[in-house]
Each structure stands twice: as structure tokens, then as C-alpha cells.
């Protein structure tokens, strides 16, 4: 296949994004959903860094990716706290059971 260019990275990030999304959409366990979310964020990071490399803007992309990682860390922490609370409340973390807000 041709030399690895920007498109390859974009396709890879799209693929990872899609897989993450699939995890979020289909997984029953909340923690797995969180993992899915992390994967999606990483896919985004790949894009950032790919562009920071191929459209050189003085490492803006990388800095942005850095901050994405930071926020993801904080987000994961809080999300997990929430999940644990849900677990305490409902004795299970399966999302399909957590439908008290049903209409």
C-alpha cells in the first residue's frame, strides 16, 4: 500500500472512534462504557497529533491532545465515582437496569 500518509492516521482514528462508539452503545456494563469513552478520546487525540504533525502549527495539536488527556483523566475519575455510587444504589452497574428515568 502507498506510503503512510495523513489519511491513514485519520482512517485509523475513525476506526478507533467507531469501535469506541460501538462499545459505548452496546456494552451493558458502565465501566466498559467508560473504557469506550476513553477509546473515543484517544481516537480524537490521534487526529490532533496527526494534524499537528502534518499541518505543522507549532505543536498546537499536541498541546491540545495533552489537555485532552488531562481532562480525560479527571473525567474518568469522576465518572468512576458516579458509577460506584450507582453500584451502591442499585447493586449492579448494568446500564439497562439503570433506566429509572424511563418515560
Amino acid at each position: 500500500m502507498m506510503a503512510v500518509g495523513l489519511n491513514h492516521f485519520l482512517v485509523l482514528s475513525a476506526l478507533l472512534f467507531v469501535l469506541g462508539l460501538l462499545a459505548v452503545l452496546t456494552k451493558k456494563n458502565a465501566v466498559t462504557v467508560l473504557m469506550g469513552i476513553e477509546l473515543i478520546l484517544n481516537a480524537a487525540n490521534i487526529n490532533f497529533i496527526a494534524f499537528s504533525r502534518y499541518a505543522d502549527t507549532d505543536l498546537d495539536g499536541q498541546l491540545f491532545a495533552l489537555f485532552v488527556i488531562i481532562t480525560a483523566a479527571a473525567g474518568a475519575a469522576v465518572a468512576l465515582a458516579i458509577v460506584l455510587n450507582i453500584y451502591k444504589q442499585m447493586r449492579s452497574v448494568n446500564l439497562d437496569e439503570a433506566d429509572t428515568l424511563a418515560g
Partner: protein, 150 residues
């Protein structure tokens, strides 16, 4: 610059191969006598009862949580440390503020007791149960010590 990173990657692969090789050798050489006793979970020879799940208290999670937050702090401080020499007084103040804010978090955790770990209360009961027994033992030992020292 890429090659620098190739090294650890290759080192990982080589180490994995090394272990795999050894495991293969040991698998070939080792006697294989499966028996029920062997295959049960090892509980100091006791018969394993109950599930291994133990309701972890949340402390492990909180510790990891604080670790993540400070880990991220380190990630921020590394580039600062690297360019500390070149930057002036201003960057130092910024970082002081940055670290101070996070220290507030640490203080909060510390104050709220998230960092404490349950002290195993050992010894308390025994002493209460039979205080005079302890006294006797205590006195006897001192006597023997005196004899010995003499």
C-alpha cells in the same frame, strides 16, 4: 529520534521471547501431575471457603484517584522542570499557584481522612482480656533478663 523508541519496543519483544522460551523449557521439563489438591486455590493448606471476593473498602479507589490526579500534575510539571532554567520568575510563580491549588486538594483529602488507612487494632483485646496474665509474663521475663545479664 524514532530509533530511540524502537529500542524499548524491541527490548519488550525480546524479554517476552526470553520468558516464553524459558516457560517453554520448563513446560517441557516439568513433571505434570495434576491433582485436585494442587488445583485448588491455595489457602495455607486450608480448604478454600467462600468466594475470593472481599468487599474492598473504597479506600483503594480513592488512593488511585488521588494518584491519577497527582500523576497528571507530574505530567504538567515535567515540561516546566525541563524549561525551568530558561523561564524566569514568572513561570515559577505560575507553577507555585498550580501546585498550591493541587495541594489544597491533597489537604482536603488528608483532612477528610481519605488517606488514613485502618489501623489494625491488635493487642488491645488480649491485654483487656487478661491483664494480670500480662503482668505475670512481664515480671517473669524481667527476672530472666536480670538473671541473664548477671
Amino acid at each position: 529520534m524514532l530509533l530511540h523508541f524502537a529500542a524499548p519496543f524491541i527490548f519488550v519483544i525480546v524479554a517476552a521471547a526470553f520468558i516464553a522460551l524459558n516457560l517453554l523449557i520448563s513446560r517441557l521439563l516439568q513433571p505434570r501431575v495434576p491433582s485436585a489438591g494442587k488445583n485448588t486455590t491455595y489457602e495455607c493448606g486450608e480448604i478454600p471457603i467462600g468466594s475470593s471476593w472481599v468487599q474492598f473498602n473504597i479506600r483503594f479507589y480513592v488512593i488511585t484517584l488521588i494518584f491519577v490526579i497527582f500523576d497528571v500534575e507530574i505530567v504538567f510539571l515535567v515540561p516546566w522542570a525541563v524549561v525551568f532554567k530558561d523561564l524566569g520568575w514568572f513561570a515559577f510563580v505560575e507553577v507555585v499557584i498550580f501546585v498550591f491549588i493541587l495541594l489544597v486538594g491533597l489537604a482536603y483529602a488528608w483532612r477528610k481522612g481519605d488517606l488514613e488507612w485502618d489501623k489494625p487494632e491488635t493487642g488491645k483485646f488480649a491485654r483487656d482480656a487478661a491483664p494480670q496474665l500480662f503482668e505475670e509474663v512481664g515480671t517473669e521475663r524481667q527476672q530472666t533478663v536480670q538473671e541473664v545479664t548477671l
